[in-house]
Subunit: 317 residues, 2 copies
């Protein structure tokens, strides 16, 4: 059994590679929910959805998020209300784009949560509806909200930063509201404890993996089994392939490099997989007490993602 | 100023005729919300929406409900979840069809209500977004729910009866859950008090007009100004043009005829407008102490609706 600690797009691509080389039923994804948001009354779980749609082969390949063959009729009609809502209202905002096909997921999730189902239950049902073999688990069934302090603006939600500001503003701090109350689910804990290998997917260490690590006991659990925890660096040649991980690392006082990632993961993880482009950083990473595996980590094709998954599992063996 | 007590389709057509012959800003619609329902976490107000879309010229002319040029992508994708929800769950049900364009209305309403806006405020904003001149007022800002006792099945919500069962099942009773707590809004009360004429639109007397009359003080208010209250019979030649009003009247022990309607309205209304086909019933209606106006009431064209509105106003003068 393999347990994968996940954020969004990078994790989804890694999982797709992994499910192509091992029985998908042997894979559990423990997924960040710090990006979750309620908009228009609907409960939206962006990272869970990105992974679900990617593993189902239904993700839009151009956008990298949302469903293929999507239409945007509901959103287009929502813009009608921009002119009539009170100045202080945020109702009917359209900066967070929800496709008509995608809306069905949020309608179902919202209705199930209102019936008292846990996010874990609903996520399993949605995964079943897409015939996924991989088991998808939210990190928590409670509310943990990633909040971002933007220079000159103040604190905003992660989606306001990521989508609303297109992550093009400087960040001075990040916090996980509710982390003192939210708990890692029992199912996620068992997966992280019982798996032969734990993989930290190539996701943003601060705002994708960070929320999961902020839950009580997670770092201790990983530290105790550190020798079979493998991470893949999301930073390649100093930069993130997608998203703000590189700038965010720098802005928050970390180094935007595979070495910076190694420093963050060294306490909980024995092995770091880095890209060929960063081969020269291997000695510095090894000096932190980690093993270092060098391979192709840019998952531009399913084959490269499968090879990366194979190398990652081999590194853990 | 004219105040119109309204249900759905028939009221909407009457209002459309009325706004074509008087300044729309002189018209207020006091609308039934007993059919309102929360589905998929979204707050849906079917009668308000039917009136809004009709007055905006955006109603689908074939269906008679929902928006023209509608698409059904979200609903089609919701059907994916039917196979995975637990047996007891009602999440993801698709019997209540919500078009993609229509969804925008519910998303906006739900978000505004979550912000603490009243249904009165939100309804005004949605009407403004559609550039309506007529003022639309929900009867109440509280929750009043029309519940229908179906023979051999038990009590279900109005929409389950009307849409889910296509109103093809026998009804043994109707009640308005919450009517003891819900209050007529101040704006609706002022409209009904101050208007030169109050019109009871050709809507189902039991489940469209009934919920409004069930609110404390409404019948008393109308009784006190009975001489300037005019109703239009929704029953023509013993039958409803649309919907279950005829069967429901019979099932609940009333007469499915303009006379049966007159009996229900006589205490609160001095004048009943009936169709040419029912001209022979005028003496029976007048014997109940009402004036009776005979005209064309089948609003198959905007012109007939305008003529009906003109006759109705003349009857009140």
């Amino acid at each position: 059994m393999i347990s994968v600690i996940c954020g969004g797009v990078g994790a989804a691509r890694f999982l797709r590679g992994l499910q192509s080389i091992v029985d998908p039923h042997d894979i559990t994804a423990v997924i960040n929910t710090g990006d979750d948001v309620v908009m228009h009354g609907l409960s939206i779980s962006p990272d869970i959805d990105t992974i679900t749609y990617t593993l189902a082969g239904a993700i839009d390949p151009q956008r990298g998020w949302g469903l293929v063959d999507e239409t945007w009729t509901a959103m287009a009609n929502l813009s009608r209300f921009a002119a009539v809502r009170p100045a202080a209202s945020r109702a009917g905002e359209t900066w967070f784009n929800l496709g008509d096909r995608d809306l069905a997921t949020h309608l179902y999730r919202t209705a199930r949560l209102a019936e008292g189902a846990s996010l874990t239950q609903v996520t399993g049902e949605i995964a079943a509806a897409w015939n996924l073999g991989v088991r998808l688990l939210p990190m928590t069934d409670e509310r943990l909200e990633t909040r971002v302090e933007v220079v000159g603006e103040g604190e905003i939600s992660f989606q306001e930063y990521f989508v609303g500001r297109r992550h093009s503003v400087a960040v001075s701090s990040v916090r996980f509201a509710g982390a003192d109350v939210a708990v890692l689910t029992g199912a996620a804990r068992r997966s992280l404890l019982d798996a032969a290998v734990v993989v930290i997917a190539p996701s943003n260490p601060l705002v994708s993996i960070g929320p999961i690590r902020s839950l009580a006991g997670v770092d201790e659990l990983l530290t105790a089994r550190r020798s079979s925890v493998v991470a893949i660096s999301p930073i390649i040649n100093g930069a993130a392939l997608k998203g703000p991980a590189d700038r965010m690392l720098t802005e928050l006082g970390y180094e935007s490099s595979a070495v910076g990632v190694a420093r963050l993961y060294a306490p909980i993880c024995s092995t770091l997989v880095i890209d060929q482009l960063d081969a020269h950083l291997a000695p510095a990473i090894e000096s932190l007490g980690m093993r270092c595996i060098v391979t192709d980590t840019i998952m531009s094709t399913p084959e490269i993602a499968a090879d990366l998954a194979r190398s990652t599992l081999a590194a853990a063996a």
